[in-house]
Amino acid sequence: MLATILLFAVARERAGVASLTVELPENPTVSDLKAAIARISPALAPILPMIRIAVNSEYAQDDHQVIPEGAELAAIPPVSGGGLPIEDPS
């Protein structure tokens, strides 16, 4: 399937575009998406390890998470004051 991923901040500037459209295999995982990003935009490859993928406005839990068709995808570089997942206080 074809998927579009939104790019922000340092990722957007490195790629030179605000979004990328990539070809993904069937039942693609976050790992597949990252590999496709690295192929289509080599400038992003060096920073991919620190980029988190958001699927429908939620951080993907890990690289094995399957991406549903039609999901809104985004590359989230480390945010300005942190980057680690926070504990759920409940």
Partner: protein, 151 residues
């Protein structure tokens, strides 16, 4: 109240909004643009957000905070775009029956916001360079770029 806005933030109005007769404590935090980071001088900051997700993560933080503390009123407002020295980038205001819980909730919200909400800031340094701020990597040449290259 949750908002991401381009225009300046009226922190007094936001603080007023969370007040209530049930509250004995109102805690309001302002994040402002600082000039000096060590010996480096900042001219301005440019903030960029992923608005849909930023709003959603702020709403999630409000839900979590309300489970943990007896919050009466809560407001989180973040500014995006170009900010000059001293301007307010973020306001978090909380009211609770007692001061301890208001302090705790406000601090947790500010700390959490900075960790998970997809809003990025770029330093515009006085030496003419620009740099996306990254936690734990305050001055990496890997992410440095000259202003003319930027959109």
């Amino acid at each position: 109240m949750i908002e991401i806005r381009l225009e300046p933030i009226d922190h007094a109005a936001i603080t007023d909004q969370v007040r209530s007769n049930q509250a004995g404590a109102v805690c309001s935090f302002l994040g402002t643009v600082r000039e000096m980071t060590g010996d480096r001088q900042t001219l301005a900051l440019d903030y960029e957000a992923y608005p849909v997700m930023a709003r959603k993560t702020l709403e999630d933080l409000e839900i979590q905070a309300r489970k943990r503390w007896p919050i009466l009123g809560l407001a989180m407002v973040h500014r995006v775009g170009h900010l000059e020295l001293g301007e307010i980038s973020v306001v978090v205001a909380v009211s609770c029956p007692h001061r301890r819980e208001a302090f705790e909730a406000c601090q947790w919200l500010v700390d959490s916001l900075k960790e998970v909400v997809p809003i990025w800031k770029k330093e515009v340094w006085a030496d003419g360079t620009e740099e996306w701020v990254q936690p734990g990597r305050p001055a990496s040449p890997d992410v440095q770029s000259e202003r003319p290259r930027l959109e």
